[in-house]
């Protein structure tokens, strides 16, 4: 099923080479793609690049897009895949060139409460997200940041709903420990 007549119409026109129609799709869905990409990668040059890559891939796949899922869900799935690829590349670069003591310290003790380099709540929360494994972070981004249902999250990540729930449970547990009082103040 296609999300709305507008999206269906825009996709049909974009398939025929109408760039204005595709631009409308970009403008309409860039916010959802941005939440996924920024949630997974944080702010930076990579995020913009991955956002563009998402729409380029969608453009290339227009002919094969059947509308089984909504345009937004399809785009978020592509965005997640691109973000995971970018994270893998980042990790390879870091392994090759960077030996950051702080990163090594946090990798050694992922449950430690974040205090080092604390320049505000946003930085602390970003650091806590970055400490989650990519699998758990993906669930947190879709379920908590993007407010997707368990079912949609499972559809996007192509995993069973039970796996979404167990990953969410583990991620929330880790965030609770890592953020300590900040988490408690807000959620309990």
């Amino acid at each position: 099923m296609i999300e709305s007549n507008d999206d269906a119409d825009l996709v049909a026109r974009a398939r025929k080479g109408d760039d204005d129609a595709f631009r409308r799709l970009v403008e309409r869905h860039q916010a959802a793609v941005a939440r996924t990409v920024f949630g997974m990668l944080g702010a930076g040059d990579d995020a913009d690049d991955v956002g563009q890559e998402t729409f380029v891939r969608f453009h290339q796949a227009l002919d094969t897009f059947r509308g089984d899922s909504s345009v937004r869900t399809y785009l978020v799935r592509i965005a997640m895949s691109c973000a995971l690829n970018a994270l893998r590349s980042q990790r390879r670069r870091e392994l090759r060139f960077v030996r950051d003591d702080l990163a090594m310290e946090s990798a050694a003790d992922p449950d430690a409460i974040i205090t080092a380099g604390d320049d505000g709540q946003a930085a602390r929360i970003r650091a806590a997200l970055d400490r989650l494994s990519t699998e758990h972070r993906a669930v947190v981004v879709l379920r908590l940041l993007d407010e997707r249902s368990t079912r949609e999250t499972a559809e996007i990540l192509q995993i069973p709903e039970g796996t979404v729930l167990s990953r969410l449970s583990r991620a929330v547990q880790q965030l609770r420990v890592t953020l300590g009082p900040v988490w408690q103040e807000f959620t309990e």
Binding site: Q52, A122, L145, E147, G162, V172, T187
Partner: protein
């Protein structure tokens, strides 16, 4: 991304916790939007990629060029080896073809003697 964590012993967080956690994250993190002109940049990139030949074509071209060099080098090596065999290793009772390939002259006696050697 597939997989099943098999975490049946973990209770999923309730809706209130999920909502509160979502509010905490969304409220604390900076706005998650692309900078101005994102659509322009994206459309420009699509136009660039449309104009450029697809990577498969580039890869095939590079393979073709490399293969030309490899094929020429292999042909030269075959000719040089054949010439070497013909000039250096040719014996009186071998043909030019056998000499070029470096084949030893074969007779019934040599076959029988080699097979009886292998049984011992």
């Amino acid at each position: 991304m597939t997989g099943n964590d098999g975490m049946s012993d973990q209770t999923p967080p309730d809706d209130t916790t999920v909502r509160a956690a979502g509010q905490l994250l969304r409220g604390a993190l900076p706005p998650m939007t692309f900078s101005d002109g994102f659509a322009d940049r994206t459309m420009a990139r699509i136009a660039r990629e449309r104009a450029a030949p697809p990577p498969d074509v580039l890869r095939f071209g590079a393979m073709q060029r490399n293969f030309r060099w490899l094929a020429a080098a292999a042909a030269l090596a075959i000719v040089a080896l054949g010439a070497h065999n013909t000039l250096i290793a040719r014996t009186a009772d071998s043909s030019l073809f056998e000499a070029a390939l470096g084949l030893q002259p074969v007779s019934a006696e040599s076959i029988l003697s080699s097979s009886s050697d292998s049984f011992q």
